[in-house]
Symmetry: C2
Amino acid sequence: HSAAPVCCGSIVDELSKLNEDPRVRGVYLHLAPALLTGRVISTLAPEKDVDGYVVILSRFRAGEPRVFCPGIEHLCGPTGVSSEGQTVVLVGADGAVKVALRCLMERRGVVTLNGHKSSESLQEQVCVCVWLSPCVGDTAVGVWLVVGVMGQPNMCVLVSLQNVVLGSCRWLREQQYQDWSLRLLKLQPLNPVPSDIQISRAQTPKSVQQLAQEIGLLPGELEPYGRNKAKVRLSLLERLQAQPDGNLVLVAGITPTPLGEGKSTVTIGLVQALSAHLKLNSFACLRQPSQGPTFGVKGGAAGGGYAQVIPMEEFNLHLTGDIHAITAANNLVAAAIDARMLHEATQSDKALFNRLVPSVNGVRKFSPIQISRLRRLGLSTTEPASLTAEEVRAFVRLDLDPSKLTWQRVVDTNDRFLRKITVGQASTEKGHSRETGFDIAVASEIMAILALADGLGDMRVRLARMVVGTSRSGQPITAEDLGVSGALAVLMKDAIKPTLMQTLEGTPVFVHAGPFANIAHGNSSVLADKLALKLVGRDGFVVTEAGFGADIGMEKFFSIKCRASGLRPSAVVLVATVRALKMHGGGPNVSAGSPLPREYIDENLSLVTGGCHSNLRKQIEIAHLFGVPVVVALNVFKTDTAAEIALVCRLALECGARAAVPCHHWALGGRGSVELARAVKEASAAPSHFQFLYETEMPIVEKIRTIAQKVYGADDIALSPQAEAEIQTYEQQGYRSLPICMAKTHLSLSHMPDKKGAPTGFTLPIRTVRASIGAGFIYPLVGTMSTMPGLPTRPCFYDIDLDPVTEEITGLF
Amino acid sequence: HSAAPVCCGSIVDELSKLNEDPRVRGVYLHLAPALLTGRVISTLAPEKDVDGYVVILSRFRAGEPRVFCPGIEHLCGPTGVSSEGQTVVLVGADGAVKVALRCLMERRGVVTLNGHKSSESLQEQVCVCVWLSPCVGDTAVGVWLVVGVMGQPNMCVLVSLQNVVLGSCRWLREQQYQDWSLRLLKLQPLNPVPSDIQISRAQTPKSVQQLAQEIGLLPGELEPYGRNKAKVRLSLLERLQAQPDGNLVLVAGITPTPLGEGKSTVTIGLVQALSAHLKLNSFACLRQPSQGPTFGVKGGAAGGGYAQVIPMEEFNLHLTGDIHAITAANNLVAAAIDARMLHEATQSDKALFNRLVPSVNGVRKFSPIQISRLRRLGLSTTEPASLTAEEVRAFVRLDLDPSKLTWQRVVDTNDRFLRKITVGQASTEKGHSRETGFDIAVASEIMAILALADGLGDMRVRLARMVVGTSRSGQPITAEDLGVSGALAVLMKDAIKPTLMQTLEGTPVFVHAGPFANIAHGNSSVLADKLALKLVGRDGFVVTEAGFGADIGMEKFFSIKCRASGLRPSAVVLVATVRALKMHGGGPNVSAGSPLPREYIDENLSLVTGGCHSNLRKQIEIAHLFGVPVVVALNVFKTDTAAEIALVCRLALECGARAAVPCHHWALGGRGSVELARAVKEASAAPSHFQFLYETEMPIVEKIRTIAQKVYGADDIALSPQAEAEIQTYEQQGYRSLPICMAKTHLSLSHMPDKKGAPTGFTLPIRTVRASIGAGFIYPLVGTMSTMPGLPTRPCFYDIDLDPVTEEITGLF
């Protein structure tokens, strides 16, 4: 209400009316200081006094670090008078008191705050001074507010603000960690197990607002996208910064068959067991699946059977638009590259400069992003007219070498015909055609950045430093050079917030990011893990997932994600199946679309033994390289026999696992994974001695060799001449200290997909070496990596449809 | 709550507990019939009795038409016993009563309903019989419920359900139209007018839930996407089907300069004036802008100055993901085409058939979409084994002619290098490369379908009949033939719901669909208009916008959108500017990026007169062809003189406009358009005599000629031989009766962009004729239409950035 009453009496009348109006939920007083009398303030009903709430939670954020940070004292003079020229941004009286109370809470002492504020929406500048006496526990006693008009120190009013104190204390309590009051969804598993979409549809999820409230999120921290999913704001990390983290558990797998061994399903089953059956706060952090395979051959990725994220169709389609945002951002870079090359090829330096730095009302000015480019060129000027012809040329010409462009376009569709294409064939592009290609959207470097970014600022920096190609003189050209990185950050500003969903049993799940596990690191996002670790609390569990086998996804989790984020897992769950173990023990070939050979259906203990003694043992050893205890989770299929299950568990322990348990989450939900949950809890409580595999300061070649030898079991590596030259270039360009992200087949510990078990005596060939500078890793290619899947003859979409009346989807699995 | 108590006593205890538990918002009883005693039912507190709510609003919809339709009697025998074999699907006792009450409300008589239900979630089948005595007004008296186990008619309980009656009456009232209680946002326009993003950011929008409540939407009809925008469910149309529509007003423009004349701004200013200043319910229906130009040259499209949709950055970026969904759907079709052609080229009939109709557990089965293809081939079988070799061949081979593919891929980026490309150049595609191209996403036929669809079912049908190319034997091949149309509907199921946002003054806006105005019809969606017409109520106004000049957007609005939807506008607002009128009166060239010549800055009454007597007069006449009154809205710029403004208004009246008023919304918000709002209200109240320009049954050539002569002022049309052949093909394929969607430059009434005013004495050349069969129109191309914009040398993105702390965006305009 911005009505402008002229005296205290009319304000009091107005406030009384507002007090009684049921439509008015709260009043935010914006009055000239002289009108802020005790009578005015005490008239407002306490439940309507929301002054400061909105401010603190949204607009105030800009000033927060300056106020909330420990070094608050230097902002205030010893007598409570603001130091010359320094501004403590305090918005409104109530906000000021809350800030002061917060400092009190954290420091348990006397705090004197002083500040002033200038706001466009206020008619006068207001000086806010708050004196607080010490508080006992949560209750502050004796709070006075002195308000005066700036420059007229005599015009002051002293008011005791009991309502403000009470409201502030309430507000402070709300800001603190809240225990969960999780309402579980009951599962009544059927036998035989129905299709995934049938199971998903039979369970009605809680509204996401309800779920958020149950796990202690504040309403303002949630951005719902429909009824079943919501983005969670990163401000949560600030609010709960004092809260200790829970336990981080990584789910990895042995080397899989081409059919996959159910890591996502184990992840979801485990959190269902932890939360719903052991009553321990837990969160699953999953990767967002690409939409391409959903309509291709793979189907959904929301888990399966009675261990799923629901509604599975919302998980698998669009979600909250993050991949679409990545596609838009990635392709804006691509369009900028080609357009820039065309414009440079067809315009003089002068014409380019006049267009890039246009005269607006007779004035030429560099934009901030152009100044950033000038700095990288070593030019300190900000005055367009001062540039020499040589400097103009350097500024306007990125001079990209068409043969050294590394940036590809992306789509989130399995479109094999876009793997290699020629663009620019229309006459309007004047013959500047060139060969390039599309990747599937999740292979974009921007997806890897999303997964590794620590916040909006960090993402902005990473986007800026993405290298899209090399100039003819050998300089790396970045997104910042193209002038596009601010726009990329704008396109990605919502995608950076993780999406909250729930499992079939109503326990919380974050879905966020889904980088490729070969040319990128294949792990869910750092931010989702960090938010979840705060939310579960000290004794809770966050179960996060790494793509492919442990030799790839887990190694990258430790070497790249843990390094970038400071995250440290307390245990690794290594997923194995009898099927995959038999394959590693010498069983025949397994391939999608073909019937499974008999060896995989009938009991065969010798194949199982072979698999345990080779691949399982090696993958456990890899986890131990990093000093983290391993729990083997045997994902039980209905064809597995009791003897096979017992054998795997026994041999896994012999191979060094801390525990090994069969899991039945697919058929039974969380109840089928209770034993796994207990083992994980026990392993997480054990001391762990996390260590990195290599130091980043080692030469790039040595880092690659370390991974090849210690993780894959290779005798050595063999670099192609091209790879050697590329490594030399990266070291010269200053990228030596980046960690390594191996792009290797996931179907073998070696580079040869048909070598199962734990191959030895091989040399790992490094064909070529690329770099994702924005994401922050070097990725050597071992063989050819497909970054664009295709559609089979009969894609899944033949079965997918929806009922136009009920809006129910059929045919997703 | 699905607890299973064993006797009535324990149920009563449980219910008492639930009554008192503040966390329980409502209880939905799912009990065995024998337990549904009067004591049980009367124990439940009335405010907790939500039985039937959820059911009616979601699950029940499937059965609704059968129950809600007027012909209810034939479902019930005269004695209240269900007729043999007929099922009235009534879910639960309360739902049944509500249905019955609804029938009573509508028919004002005695209704006897009878039905039974079988639900997976119930342990027994329940027979529900409801007798209702006549009701007085809204209040039903005497309702009894008879519940019994199916097949055991003696096991019945008779209960009087007063709570149910009360709850049902309340529910029914809630279902009815609710008057608006719009809380306006105050505007305090500054002078000079700040940038669009500054104005947008200075105003705090209401939460979209609040806005929705104010305009009478039920919470269940809203799907929020964050705080500021929400999708609105189409079920609203059913709920308010008895509610009379408001007035539909179309905003069109005279032939614009390349700079645009501000139709969106007028639209938004007009609803701000109607709602905020004349206190008339009103809704703006706008098109969603493409993201491409936002980063290219055009900037945002959320209006401008003090007539904007806020937050403007959310309007311009991603919105609720509709364009992303279109991109995904469009490109899935493209991937399916190329993959299918490759698979057909490399596999035998038998291999194709075995893959397309695979043996699952020894059984081959056609999917529903494959049966749909069999029907189009004239085959009535559903048994795969029964097909002859010839039929198998016809079924498995779409036999697409690569030279006759009309489907292009799309991206929502200004990427000129994708205009013409060669795809399939990787070795995996085995030499099957071909030339094709990308359009900007809003040029997709799927966008046109979204804008014209009448509901989910209609959209599904239109998607299925999209023609993607022609077989070598000349048959049109559809998305349904590719097996992909169900998946497309699934991808588009959320996009079909319009997005609710608000203007700077807090009045409601629907943003939905944004089809190209040249190769498509360029109008916002039918569904947004229809939802808005119900919401504003009988005396309210829905202001909807048509792209380009009135000769294009308005003509297509009448001929295509009105025809497809049954919508009828009560008035046309024709937007003019002094700048554009001067251009039509003979002023020099106007082009983006160049300074405006002096003629446009200084007063020049003779140029203004020339423009009014040529283009303005002609555009008014075009509207009169359709029998709709015209209000000319002069969008005032600060360089316009009082004499120029007065002259335009006077001449517009002379040219046949019902009214002509200057508008100052850009500088003043709704207050600046009050005069326009009054004129629109008055014009809408006048009798209108809507008529179509042509009958759809006319030959295609005649329809084109009619538009060219009557609308554009051409002497005649000249068809190229190619166009003649194409028209012949469409007529043979049965597409003769589709309306025409002319693809002509918007910069002139003729096909020659530099012919301003109202050209005559020209022949309109028709180069080629294409068809959007799914959207439902034939589009003749007059000249070359660019469907992929490019980036300029200095794209907008140079200025766009965001503050990583406040998350505020800078540089959008």
